[in-house]
Amino acid sequence: MIKVLFFGRLRELLNCSEIQIDDFELGSVANLRVLLAKKGPKWAEFIEGNNALVAVNQDMVDESSQIKTGDEVAFFPPVTGG
C-alpha cells in the first residue's frame, strides 16, 4: 500500500487531494505515473504535461527513484512560495 498526495493546481485539476493504492508493489516513480494515467483523461494529462514535480517521503526525487510499500508519494506543480 502506498499513499499518493496532490497539491495546488494539480489537486484542483484531478479534484483529488489523496488516494491510496493497494496493489502497487515495487516500482519507480515513472511506473507509478503510468498506473495513475489509467485513471482517466485528466490523470493522463498531468502525466503527459510532465509538469508535476514529485516527492517521496517528503523529499524531492526524480523519475527513476524507487517506491516501496508504506511510502508517501506527492505530485505537485512547480512551487511558488516566498
Binding site: 497539491f7 495546488g8 484542483e12 516527492a55 517528503q58 512551487v79 511558488t80 512560495g81
Partner: protein, 150 residues
C-alpha cells in the same frame, strides 16, 4: 529557527532574537517578502498560500542546513506564512547574522533562491469574484536565480 505558520511575524522581535549576545556579529541581513499587487485591474484582494504540511518544515530545514554549511553565519532564521493573506501582508522572513557582510547577504539570497525553487508552497490569487481565483505561475527569473550557486 524555522517556522511555518498562519500567524503574522514581527521584524523587531526577530531582530532582537537574531543579534548574538557575544559581539561576534558584524552584519545582519533581513529579507521580508510581501504580498504584492501583481495584476492591477483584476480585483486581486490577496493570496491563499497552500502548502504540503509534512514537507514544508523539512524542506526549509534542508535549505537552511545547506546554507549554514556553505556560509560563515552565526544564526539563520526562516519564517514562512500559509493560509489567507491580504495585499501588503508579510509572507516570508529570512534573517541572517554573520561576522561578515558578504556572507550575510549571500546566505539570505541563497535561502530565498532555493526556497523559491524547492519549498512546497503554492500561491493562489484571491479575487473579489471567488470563482476567478488564479494560481500564480512560476517565473523564469526564479529558475535562473539558482545558476549563481552552481
Amino acid at each position: 529557527m524555522i517556522n511555518v505558520q498562519e500567524a503574522d511575524f514581527d521584524l523587531n522581535k526577530q531582530y532582537t532574537m537574531l543579534r548574538a549576545k557575544d559581539n561576534t556579529d558584524g552584519a545582519i541581513v533581513t529579507f521580508i517578502g510581501l504580498v504584492r499587487d501583481f495584476n492591477q485591474g483584476h480585483d486581486v484582494t490577496g493570496l491563499f498560500l497552500e502548502h504540503y504540511p509534512a514537507m514544508t518544515q523539512k524542506s526549509l530545514e534542508k535549505i537552511s542546513d545547506r546554507a549554514k554549511k556553505r556560509f560563515n553565519v552565526n544564526q539563520l532564521d526562516i519564517i514562512h506564512r500559509v493560509g489567507q493573506l491580504n495585499l501588503g501582508d508579510q509572507i516570508v522572513y529570512v534573517g541572517v547574522s554573520s561576522p561578515h557582510r558578504e556572507e550575510a547577504f549571500s546566505c539570505a539570497q541563497f535561502v530565498m533562491d532555493f526556497l523559491k525553487k524547492e519549498a512546497p508552497f503554492w500561491k493562489k490569487e484571491t479575487r473579489k469574484q471567488h470563482n476567478k481565483d488564479v494560481w500564480v505561475e512560476t517565473n523564469q527569473k526564479d529558475k535562473e536565480a539558482l545558476k549563481k550557486w552552481q
